[in-house]
């Protein structure tokens, strides 16, 4: 075998703490290595060119590149190797950047370690063999989970691109947070005016199947051929009959139900259509508060419904759909401010959340766009906004910045001054994060044109004032620029509560087999280069489910994800990864252990003519985990590219040198 080795400097990234020339020199001594060199940037054009040229000129059978993480550039180099006529699996990488150069400054030890890693890669490569991918049919349909603005945008883009879309939304209507907003920064245009038409498009698009009030129960399969089970929760109303006329809402006697769409600032009925622009505009009964379900009496809605749509016996339904790709767009939830005892912990009615304030500002909201104090309905003259509530706060385990609250606070302060011209608006902030296009200008307008008072400091405490203005709240904070403690008597306090991942995001991620961070936000495949992909091929991300983002960023990512899905499913067939399990039939004793162990059901038992059995791998189903290899008592099933021999070769490569070192 003829092996070539290239050691990358990565500019100074590696070369600063690893002697790359020495590594290359050492590699020349390894068995089968006929050529070794170092290069400033292996992944650059000249770098790749050198690799290709060397393969051709020296007739190499395999190549090792010692550089960054294979998670970064493995694909790049495999392509280069392939261009030079080698099989792309005759290539190994040694990670001497992330795992060596960047974690220690000890040049001597780093160099030794790099040499070891290259030795391991060479030894493994000596057992590599060419692999070829098989191709398989794909489902030209996409599953989109969550129908906020991101899910809606992705659904429309995919549908326009010619894909069938299965859109799953757990609430009764699509729209997400954006459907609750009044105006949006930085343009201050009406949120529903922008979103509404898109929602209607979703409702009417022939390629989009909408499952509202539904959740994904199970996802199986693999890229190109997923199968998803969707639980459709029963609305106790036959949606094929309901016309959304609203007659039932008028008459329902259970009227004290917390209105989720209005963030609890008003009440609604047990049978309900969340808002006039809802899609689908259908009624649903909340059985936990409906008198018929809780007390066994009533039944008014059934009597009143002109379409005869109410059916108390309707049950949940589980439907199965086949799709080729998945986009997760489950968005965000908000920090629960009742955890903040210093801000009243929910005890003061006039301390509200930013989203409650949006509902109040909204002309279609419960106060018809009039700002009123929840305690007494009075119009507030002094409104205090507090930024970073439940964000950038380690004491509540929310160390991250929620990204858009600075901006919506500026927006809400402006709108406050618009709605009540003789009002005063104060914003307590730590830093203003206004990095989008036109954002900084927007915040400056709030300060300069709208005379919003920005106070740099956190608020330590809110308490009710007593005495003559006894119905106000005293906000006690700091103005760190003044170096002083400050107090303001406020009529209304609005908390810019931080963003959290959607409830149940972690559980969903587990179903989708994607990773999520400590806060439940889904993990992208690479933070810079693969921001919409996940590590599970065929599953993509859009919107605030990946990290808190505002509408423009959510929509951009949604369109990007749609583009990725369209590209993926534009082919009629996909190539499967050939790094899968293979059975060496002659060794197999037909015990069936691998079949029972494989988590994907990728192994079948095949009967031979003599009646004995042998295992067989279904290539398109096998995911390449290698669990079966370890299970097999005779090691008859091996994972290509990660065979026992290859992994042991790596172990041996290390142990042998150690032996030499200690014995010398």
């Amino acid at each position: 075998m003829r092996i070539g080795v290239m050691v990358c400097h990565c500019g100074n990234n590696i070369a600063a703490t690893v002697d790359c020339e020495a590594v290359a020199a050492a590699a020349r001594e390894f068995p089968d290595v006929v050529y070794a060199t170092d290069h400033m940037y292996a992944c650059s054009d000249p770098g790749q060119g050198t690799i290709e040229k060397t393969i051709r000129e020296l007739k190499l059978d395999g190549v090792v590149v010692a550089s960054c993480s294979p998670r970064m550039h493995e694909v790049t180099f495999r392509r280069a190797v392939e261009r030079a006529g080698l099989n792309r699996y005759m290539f190994e990488m040694a990670n001497i950047r992330e795992h060596v150069a960047w974690i220690s400054l000890d040049r001597k030890r780093n160099t030794e370690k790099a040499i070891d890693l290259v030795r391991m890669a060479v030894e493994k490569l000596r057992y590599d063999r060419p692999l070829t991918a098989k191709s398989f049919e794909v489902q030209k349909r996409v599953l989109i989970i969550g129908a906020g603005v991101a899910g809606i945008q992705a659904a429309l883009d995919c549908a326009e691109g010619g894909l069938d879309v299965v859109l799953v939304e757990r609430k009764q209507s699509i729209g997400g947070v954006m459907s609750k907003l009044d105006k949006t920064f930085p343009t201050v245009d009406c949120s529903v005016c922008v979103l509404g038409p898109k929602m209607v498009d979703v409702g009417q698009h022939p390629r989009i199947t909408l499952h509202a009030l539904s959740e994904v129960e199970e996802l199986s399969g693999y890229v190109g051929n997923f199968e998803v089970k969707i639980r459709k929760k029963t609305p106790f109303v036959d949606w094929t009959k309901c016309t959304g006329c609203g007659a039932c809402l008028e008459k329902c006697p259970s009227r004290k139900v917390r209105d989720g769409h209005n963030e609890g600032i008003c009440t609604t009925t047990a049978i309900n259509i969340p808002f006039p622009q809802a899609i689908p505009k259908r009624a649903a009964i909340d059985a936990t508060v409906c008198l018929r379900f809780t007390k066994g009496k009533c039944g008014v809605c059934q009597k009143i419904c002109p379409a005869d749509a109410v059916d108390y016996d309707l049950k949940d339904e589980v439907v199965t759909e086949k799709v080729g790709a998945v986009i997760a767009a489950t968005g965000l939830d908000l920090f629960d401010h009742t955890k903040c005892g210093e801000y009243g912990g929910g005890r003061y009615p006039d301390v509200i959340t930013s989203l409650q304030y949006e509902r109040m500002l909204s002309a279609s909201g419960p106060t018809a766009g009039h700002i009123k104090r929840p305690s007494d309905g009075r119009e507030p003259k002094t409104v205090v906004f507090i930024a970073c509530v439940g964000s950038r706060d380690r004491s509540v385990d929310r160390p991250y910045c929620s990204n858009f609250c600075c901006m919506y606070t500026a927006k809400q302060a402006i709108l406050t001054r618009d709605h009540i011209p003789d009002s005063r608006a104060y914003v307590f902030y730590m830093d203003i994060r206004a990095t989008g296009k036109g954002y900084e200008e927007f915040v400056r307008r709030a300060q300069e044109e709208y005379d919003v008072q920005y106070v740099r400091g956190r608020v330590a405490q809110i308490y009710p004032s007593t005495g003559p203005d006894g119905d106000q709240l005293v906000v006690r904070g700091a103005d760190t620029l003044l170096g002083a403690q400050v107090e303001i008597k406020a009529d209304l306090v609005v908390l810019a509560v931080g963003a959290e991942s959607a409830k149940g995001a972690g559980a969903l991620a587990e179903k989708l087999r994607i990773s999520y961070d400590a806060y439940g936000f889904f993990l992208e495949s690479h933070p810079k280069l693969r921001p919409v992909e996940t590590n599970t091929v065929g599953v993509f991300l859009a919107g605030a489910c990946q990290a808190p983002k505002d509408i423009p960023a959510s929509v951009a990512q949604a369109s990007a994800a749609a583009g990725k899905v369209l590209a993926l499913l534009s082919k009629d067939k996909l190539e499967s990864d050939p790094q899968i399990a293979q059975v060496q039939t002659i060794r197999c004793i037909g015990c069936g252990k691998c079949e029972r162990t494989c988590p994907f059901g990728a192994i079948r038992m095949r009967e031979l003519r003599d009646g004995s059995k042998r295992a067989e791998v279904v290539e398109t189903v096998c995911q390449g985990c290698g669990i079966c290899s370890v299970t097999c008592p005779v090691r008859a099933i091996q994972l290509a590219h990660f065979t026992d021999s290859q992994l042991l070769a790596e172990v041996n490569a290390l142990c042998r040198t150690w032996d030499e070192n200690t014995e010398s």
Binding site: R71, M72, N95, R97, E98, H99, V100, A101, W102, I103, S104, D106, R109, N110, K113, L117, M120, Y127, R129, A509, E510, R513, S515, Y516, D517, L523, N535, T536, Q579, Q584, I586, R587, I589, K593, P599, G624, C625, G626, I627, S629, V630, T631, P633, V634, R635, A636, L639, F642, T643, D644, S645, L647, L648, A649, E650, V651, L654, C655, W658, T662
Partner: protein, 198 residues
């Protein structure tokens, strides 16, 4: 922090999806770490054969660390649970072949947990430093031969696919076949306890 004297010989088997990414993240964040650990990338911690670990320890490694995805966060759904079951049994088995069980550790690190990886490596390396070098056992070579015989491969033997794999070498002596332990109900309960503990 580091004993500047000798370098210890530590092997890490890391799952490609989680821990390998976590180790990358630790590098990207420039978290300084002990240098001894050499990482072998595997697709899933479920791919780690207890045999690899035993082999590494008997061939001169001072410690072996296996790191996979958090429970329920496995890229392959449940590979890490298989791994846990097998490796937990391996841990109990190690003293039988004369290896201090402290030389082997199994941990969870996700791709976003660079600092957790740093802590894990540092802690494990410290532990190995405390245990000192792996004693060279007279028995080791013999045990090793036996193990290799059972596996049907040895470092000297070429790839089983290419070689004359005509002679199936069933491992009658299933000393290391951890799955067979599952037949033993008492052990199974023990293993379950271990799993539920997390």
């Amino acid at each position: 922090m580091q004993d500047m004297g000798r370098e210890y010989r530590i092997i890490g088997f890391l799952c490609n999806w989680c821990s390998y990414g976590g180790a990358d993240a630790a590098g990207v964040a420039r978290f300084s770490q002990p240098t001894e650990l050499r990482i072998i990338r595997v697709p899933c911690s479920g791919r780690v054969d207890p045999m690899f670990v035993a082999k590494a320890l008997l061939s001169g490694a001072d410690g072996v660390l296996v790191s996979g995805c958090h429970p329920r966060d496995c890229h392959y759904t449940e590979g890490n649970l298989y791994a846990r079951r097998r490796l937990e049994l391996l841990r109990r088995f190690l003293p039988i072949i004369g290896v201090d069980e402290g030389r082997f550790e199994y941990v969870w690190v996700s791709a976003s947990e660079g600092s957790r990886w740093r802590d894990m490596v540092t802690k494990f390396t410290d532990k190995i430093h405390q245990l000192g070098p792996m004693p060279r056992m007279a028995e080791a070579a013999r045990t090793l031969c036996k193990l290799e015989g059972m596996l049907g491969v040895s470092s000297a033997q070429p790839d089983m696919w290419r070689a004359d794999a005509a002679s199936p070498a069933p491992r009658h002596d299933a000393l290391l076949n951890m799955d067979d332990f599952r037949l033993d109900a008492s052990k199974l309960d023990e293993a379950k306890e271990v799993m539920d503990g997390e």
